[in-house]
Symmetry: C2
Subunit: 297 residues, 2 copies
């Protein structure tokens, strides 16, 4: 049994075919251009395989309300041509198999939950700190569907006293993404991330912001584990700084071992590296197939 | 068929017997003293009725992990004698019927969802702004169970430029609860809430803080509707101020009608007033009975 997976990202669309365990067997990387060009290549890729279902993690915002006439469509997007593009409808009609769709943050969380750093739990939060900041969330083995999907990267923070950087977010200026994304760090210091020393003030400021964000997530949704991925989190020195600041901010107000003496296994890097999203997409495809067919494959 | 409900609050334990529609038929208010005294009175109340189940909304923190040996026990509490009190075990053994337990915020959300301001939806957030600040949350007809239940009152905020008040929270000093609870407002201005004019700066500052909190909730969990109750929210002039500031803060970043032209029906007062919690407890009792018996009563 083969499964299809698609990770629709800002720069590339990663297409994959995998097995029922979520192992990637074939993979192709297609540049993100306009929808017609990109989707024609995506569909051509999947036409080569007999897949039973397909799972998609996509950039957004997307409409995930199953009652909606525009279910699975991109809603707003700064990318040319993608706003209102009916991704679910176009792809599922072209490929002709059951399809599951979610955000790429949620797909990455699903990948880490089944095959990575959150195995054995029933949920986790996966936060990407890279070009932008976004997160996916699974609680009790479900994605959360509210008015819309989480947009966790745009919360407001208290400023680090030594940080006068104005912020880069076009909508909120100095929200989390505006202050702590990769481009924000590079604009603040006028240097590439990789050229900042491990003990540079940049990392202490970055950890202050990420720890505040994690404090909010812990107080508001209390995820079972928090996984921090993306280009910025390759700076491993951030992890101990974030853990320490998170504990200081919480000041013992959440009475859980995970946030006290087990903090090192609560705030963790991804186990799947950059593959979390595509593996999660394959697993979403598998779960979609199981639900439709009633089969435990 | 009669149902039991208990709202275990800081000041009183409200006991009730109701019908399957969640109507309160008999009610008794018992002062919150030490566990032995209070619980003896609670148990004596319920012994007078033939109830099929009981639902409880309680102050906390409480252990809501069903796998845990201390399921339904108070974990931490500043109230004398209540820390580690096995509320679920004591009451369910004494009353001898199936029992459901959650936080009092979650019970109030359940009451408003079934009988109040969120009817017809599959979830809502209920926030109490009173002596403390706390919230309950229902998503897709479920309470969320993460590491622990939400503690949404302790998130950090940006200061209003005209506010130099130090904050009252013993753990975080100037978190949301430390700055925006009823006691915080009264300490900041040295006056009773009810003696502050409707156009006093107090309300503009209060709305700034509550709007920031709502922004975080909307970005992180995207509730279907937000209900604001508690003593502070009896100041009706707060609602339009909060709605306006919330829209300004979000700056259009969540592309949903509810947060744009429908904001007046998105951020709303409770429809059940102070009865949301006890009605929610009765409904929790009903749902517990239905699940246990397989009956749709």
């Amino acid at each position: 049994m083969y499964l299809g997976g698609l990770e629709a990202g800002d720069t590339n669309f990663v297409c994959a075919v995998g097995d029922a365990d979520g192992n990637v067997l074939v993979r192709e990387r297609i540049p993100t251009a306009d929808p017609q060009t990109t989707m024609a290549q995506v569909i051509r890729f999947f036409e080569n395989f007999k897949i039973v279902s397909i799972g998609v993690g996509t950039f957004g915002s997307i409409d995930l309300n199953k009652e909606s006439a525009t279910y699975g469509s991109i809603t707003a997007s700064p990318k040319r041509g993608w706003a209102h593009y009916p991704l679910f409808k176009s792809l599922s009609e072209a490929v002709g198999v059951p399809m599951g769709i979610t955000t790429n943050g949620n797909a990455a969380a699903l990948g880490e939950l089944h095959k990575g750093a959150a195995q054995g739990l029933d949920g986790c939060l996966y936060m990407t700190v890279g070009t932008g900041i976004s997160a996916g969330l699974i609680m009790e083995n479900q994605f959360l569907h509210g008015l819309t999907h989480p947009e966790m990267g745009h919360i407001l923070l208290r400023r680090h006293p030594k940080d006068a950087f104005q912020g880069l977010c076009p909508q909120h200026r100095d929200c989390l993404e505006g202050l702590a994304s990769g481009p924000a760090i590079e604009a603040r210091w006028g240097k590439k991330l990789t050229s900042l020393d491990d003990d540079h003030l940049a990392w202490s400021i970055e950890a202050t912001y990420l720890a505040q964000a994690l404090m909010h997530y812990a107080l508001i949704i209390s995820p079972k584990r928090i996984i921090l991925g993306g280009a910025v989190m390759k700076q491993n020195q951030l992890f101990p700084l974030i853990r320490t600041q998170l504990q200081q901010l919480l000041a013992g107000s959440i009475d859980c071992a995970e946030l006290k003496d087990q903090i090192d296994s609560y705030v963790v890097p991804p186990a799947l590296g950059e593959n979390a999203g595509i593996i999660g997409a394959l697993i979403l495809g598998r779960e979609t197939y199981r639900q439709r067919s009633g089969k435990i494959a």
